[in-house]
């Protein structure tokens, strides 16, 4: 959820040595756990110089992987954004029996291991799967093909946008929508002119998180992909394949793209948090 950043609380202050010690310890820990891996990615990527780095990025297979990742992420974001808007509208603006169960069900994919997330689609659409024989007979290919990758990506990012929007819409209540209706607005006008502008930061925030996870998903996609070069390989899978071939420079070069994406995600996230706070559109 979008977090607000309250001002520091300093009413009861700890002695300087406690503060200094705690800050140093935390920075050391975070440096080891978070910062060092990030640095390692770029260091390994540039180990053989900039030329090798660029060559690895310009590799046609890598470019195919980038294309597939962008496609899967785009579709996941679109599907899950539409779902997020629909689900939050139904859940936040109306009361109906089973509402709380529905909210829990939306969270379900978060609890499932990525590998299992991929497996469930194999069991449904794969050669041995429930619908497998039928699909095969009709010439549809889902597993070890692009549709499977998109489905697995949609599954693992399923709750991201809905989770942002539900508490936000709930906090905003229904008065503004009722106002719009009484003033003569129809359903679309109410949604586009009143509701959507109020939740746009939350929506954007959810899209950023959804996109980051979609582009980086590994476990679920790995199960359904089949690792066909240039066809069913996403960027994280490309990293794995290069790494397993001991082509470390290329693996880290491709990985550095994803690391840059992660950093951009963090910056965008902070910007959106800041904007949302400034506009007073944070849930709770």
């Amino acid at each position: 959820m979008i977090r607000s950043h309250p001002e520091l609380r300093r009413s009861v202050q700890d002695p300087a040595w406690v503060r200094g010690g705690a800050i140093a310890l935390v920075l050391l820990f975070l440096g080891l756990v978070l910062f060092m891996p990030l640095i390692a990615v770029f260091r390994e990527a540039l180990r053989k110089g900039a030329d090798a780095y660029w060559a690895a990025l310009r590799n046609p297979e890598t470019l195919d992987a980038v294309r597939l990742t962008l496609l899967a992420a785009l579709l996941a974001v679109i599907f899950n954004a539409v779902f997020g808007l629909m689900a939050s509208w139904a859940i936040a603006k109306f009361r109906f029996p089973g509402r709380h169960i529905l909210i829990s069900l939306i969270d379900l994919p978060f609890a499932v291991s990525p590998v299992v997330s991929g497996l469930v689609y194999v069991l449904l659409f794969g050669a041995q799967g429930v619908l497998g024989p039928w699909l095969q007979a009709h010439g549809f290919r889902i597993i070890f093909a692009v549709p499977g990758i998109v489905l697995a990506t949609v599954f693992v990012t399923f709750p991201f946008i809905a989770r942002e929007l539900i508490p936000l819409m709930e906090a905003q209540g229904t008065d503004e929508e009722e106002s719009a209706v009484v003033l003569g607005a129809n359903g679309w006008q109410t949604f586009w002119r009143v509701t959507l502008p109020n939740i746009k930061w939350g929506l954007l925030y959810g899209i950023i998180l959804c996109n980051a996870r979609a582009m980086g998903e590994f476990g679920a996609v790995s199960v359904v992909s089949g690792h066909i070069r240039g066809q069913t390989t996403t960027v994280p899978l490309q990293v794995e394949m290069l790494y397993n071939e001991y082509n470390f420079v290329a693996a880290f070069a491709v990985a550095s793209m994803l690391a840059i994406l992660a950093l951009i995600t963090l910056v965008l996230k902070s910007v959106v948090e800041w904007c949302a706070k400034r506009k007073g559109m944070v849930a709770g």
Binding site: E176, V181, V182, G280, M281
Partner: protein, 332 residues
């Protein structure tokens, strides 16, 4: 155009929010729906607006049955308790909203909208604030923006839900007089909900007192205050001193309806002072009647309280000047 509600019933599960409510709100009048929390007044207002559907009964706008007409087409202006201004729009855009969402054939031109909004801003005395965001305005000004927004669509009926509920005391009384003057100026049939007795009596032409999903009494503020139809109305409109009288009925007396004497007076009863304090120009005295009845609250002016040298323990003599008698059956 008169607004009539006929045999309205509304239940939430086993709870009856409104039980067979009928009333005619007169054309051009400013009516108050007055009652305690949970009396059904807001529900009635929302049913009139079409924001809620009654389980039974009709809502009539003039001769037209509007019961099944969607809120969007009822042509009412509704001012929400917390204003419900569109937080991402400027004051100007808020007021223009109702005009902008009209179907193209009915939508006024840009310049007409601009002119109209400016006129409304002037009407609510906020003409310099069109470019501000609602969050930048204090409560009283937001309230007036909400009113201007509701008036922009030229409603047949203006509904206000606790219009002054969220405001500071001094802003409240100022805004209340302003609403009264505004109503005298535009004369649109208006209904507002309030739980504040003073507000209802001061602002409205007609007061409708509600309790437990029913209308207890309606009439002009003076009628309702001077002739409360039931013990509930009597007690709700102000403090009541209750005397049991022979035959099982009770006599209700307002604190300010007593004559207070420092010495014995024919027809007056003796009572001992439990405490006294002055509130502004009023002197308020708590008394215990010597005949053993319930403690009484009596009001007199501060000067006479001072001249009688009222202190705790002193015996005073009081005599009801005006009272209202209810039978035991009415009190249930």
């Amino acid at each position: 155009m008169n607004i009539e509600v006929r045999n309205i019933e509304k239940r939430y599960g086993s709870f009856t929010a409104l039980g067979d409510v009928s009333h005619v709100f007169e054309s051009g009048k400013l009516s108050a729906l007055l009652g305690p929390s949970g009396s059904g007044k807001t529900t009635l207002l929302r049913i009139i607006a079409g924001l809620e559907n009654a389980d039974q009964g009709q809502v009539l706008f003039g001769c037209e049955d509007a019961s099944h007409r969607h809120a969007r087409y009822r042509g009412v202006g509704f001012v929400f308790q917390h204003y419900a201004l569109f937080r991402h729009m400027t004051v100007f855009e808020n007021i223009a909203f109702g005009l902008r969402v009209k179907a193209r054939s009915q939508r006024p031109s840009r310049s007409e909208i601009r002119k109209k909004v400016e006129r409304l801003l002037k009407l609510v005395q906020l003409d310099w604030l069109g470019g501000r965001m609602p969050s930048e305005l204090p409560g009283g000004q937001r309230q007036r923006v909400a009113l201007a927004r509701a008036l922009a669509v030229e409603p047949r009926l203006l509904l206000l839900d606790e219009p002054f509920g969220a405001l500071d005391a001094n802003v409240r009384s100022e805004l209340r007089q302003w609403l009264r003057r505004l109503h005298d100026e535009i004369h649109v049939t208006s209904i507002f909900v309030t739980h504040d007795v003073e507000e209802a009596l001061e602002v409205s032409d007609q007061v409708v007192v509600m309790n437990a999903g029913k209308i207890e009494q309606s009439g002009s503020p003076d009628e309702v205050y001077d002739h409360p139809a039931s013990p509930f109305v009597y007690r709700f409109l102000g403090h009541a001193n209750i005397f049991q009288v022979a035959g099982g009925s009770s006599l209700y007396v307002r604190p300010h309806d007593f004559d207070v004497f420092g010495e014995h007076f024919p027809g007056a009863i003796a009572a001992q002072v439990l405490g006294c304090r002055s509130v502004g120009a009023i002197g308020r005295i708590d008394l215990q009647p010597n005949n053993g009845g319930d403690p009484l609250q009596v009001e007199t002016d501060k000067n006479s309280m001072r001249s009688m040298q009222v202190v705790e323990g002193k015996t005073l003599y009081i005599r009801p000047r005006a009272s209202k008698q209810y039978t035991a059956a009415a009190e249930i």
